[in-house]
């Protein structure tokens, strides 16, 4: 639902970095998206195609690497991937957990020529 602004940021960051590198074309943008973040890759690509029109990023491919959710148990420090929506530690059963990974949304790298 809020991918348009996010995609604008992706285009801006990409064009700035490509400009610094004096690139003539952006081929691929590698984006890391956490499983828990509310962002939908297909939606970002859709907006990207429109927003990148007539820039050196037009036609670039967005590659998304999804980071699975990893939680850390506050009781026994076990790091685990929750199997369902009930977040309980597989080792000690505690439901006191914090997010270790899965909220990411960043551009990892940009491939240019």
């Amino acid at each position: 639902m809020h991918e348009l602004g996010v995609t604008e940021n992706i285009v801006n960051i990409t064009l700035a970095k490509a400009g610094e590198a004096q690139a003539s074309k952006v081929l691929k943008i590698n984006v890391v998206v956490g499983e828990l973040s509310g962002f939908v890759p297909d939606c970002i690509q859709f907006y990207f195609d429109t927003l990148s029109k007539d820039t050196i990023a037009q036609g670039a491919v967005l590659h998304f690497e999804t980071v699975p959710t990893h939680l850390r148990c506050r009781n026994c420090s076990t790091i685990f991937h929750p199997k369902d929506t009930l977040w309980s530690c597989p080792k000690c059963g505690s439901q006191s957990v914090e997010i270790f990974k899965g909220r990411e949304l960043y551009i990892e790298s940009v491939e240019v020529e």
């Binding site: 639902m1 809020h2 690139a23 929506t85």
Partner: protein
């Protein structure tokens, strides 16, 4: 082909503006609470109760975020020091307030005459979790008819909350809402969150909630 390492947070633009907002607010000694919930959980009712209860104690302004209409702003108009309505319908994002919207709302507010701003975010449990606005405290309301499983279904918004409120306590005899289970979920996700059980209809719990606000505002003013 050349690969450029970037590693830049895509939400950084919002976060930069949010921290600029907070600097401005701190300069004027204004405390800000971002109130979030699903549509209909009672954000406007809570704001109205808070305005009435704290009248004469604090100068309170309100920023109303809605996809469309000014109905909420009209409701709080008579009690608040200043009201700004933000309609997100024609903005790039309509599902949540963003720091840039607050930045422009603050320009229209007499900050030196305000102690507290209550921001009513767009009714939504997903998107507002991703965007900070420059607020000092984040508050999430769940109401009894929504069911006690919301922290399990929408963990992010509850994880970042400084306070969690259950509203519509007057409906408890009529709904199957397990308060203990809800509180266990919150305690697991976010053990530091303050917890309030209120009814905006009867006024239950409003006193305690408002005392908490007063304490936060005082502490903030002393730190400046």
């Amino acid at each position: 082909m050349k690969k450029i390492e970037v590693v830049q947070n895509v939400l950084e633009a919002n976060e930069t503006i949010a921290s600029r907002n907070q600097q401005l607010l701190d300069k004027h000694r204004v405390f800000v609470i971002n109130i979030m919930s699903a549509p209909g959980a009672g954000k406007t009712s809570l704001i109205l109760r808070t305005l009435t209860k704290l009248k004469g104690r604090l100068n309170i302004a309100v920023i109303e975020g809605d996809v469309a209409s000014t109905v909420d702003a009209e409701k709080v108009q008579s009690e608040a020091k200043s009201v700004v309505q933000i309609n997100t319908r024609n903005m790039p994002e309509s599902c949540s307030l963003m720091a840039v919207m607050i930045e422009s709302a603050l320009k229209d507010m007499p900050l030196d005459n305000i102690d507290l701003i209550l921001i009513e975010n767009v009714g939504n449990l997903i998107c507002p979790a991703e965007f900070t606005l420059g607020e000092h405290k984040r508050v999430v309301i769940s109401s009894l008819p929504e069911g006690d499983d919301k922290p399990i279904k929408y963990p992010l918004i509850f994880i970042d909350a400084d306070a969690v409120i259950i509203n519509k306590m007057d409906l408890l005899p009529h709904v199957d809402f397990d308060i203990a289970a809800f509180r266990r979920s919150i305690a697991g996700l976010n053990p530091k969150a303050e917890f309030f059980q209120i009814s905006c209809k009867t006024g239950e719990g409003i006193e305690k909630w408002c005392s908490w606000i007063l304490k936060q505002v005082e502490t903030h003013a002393m730190e400046r």
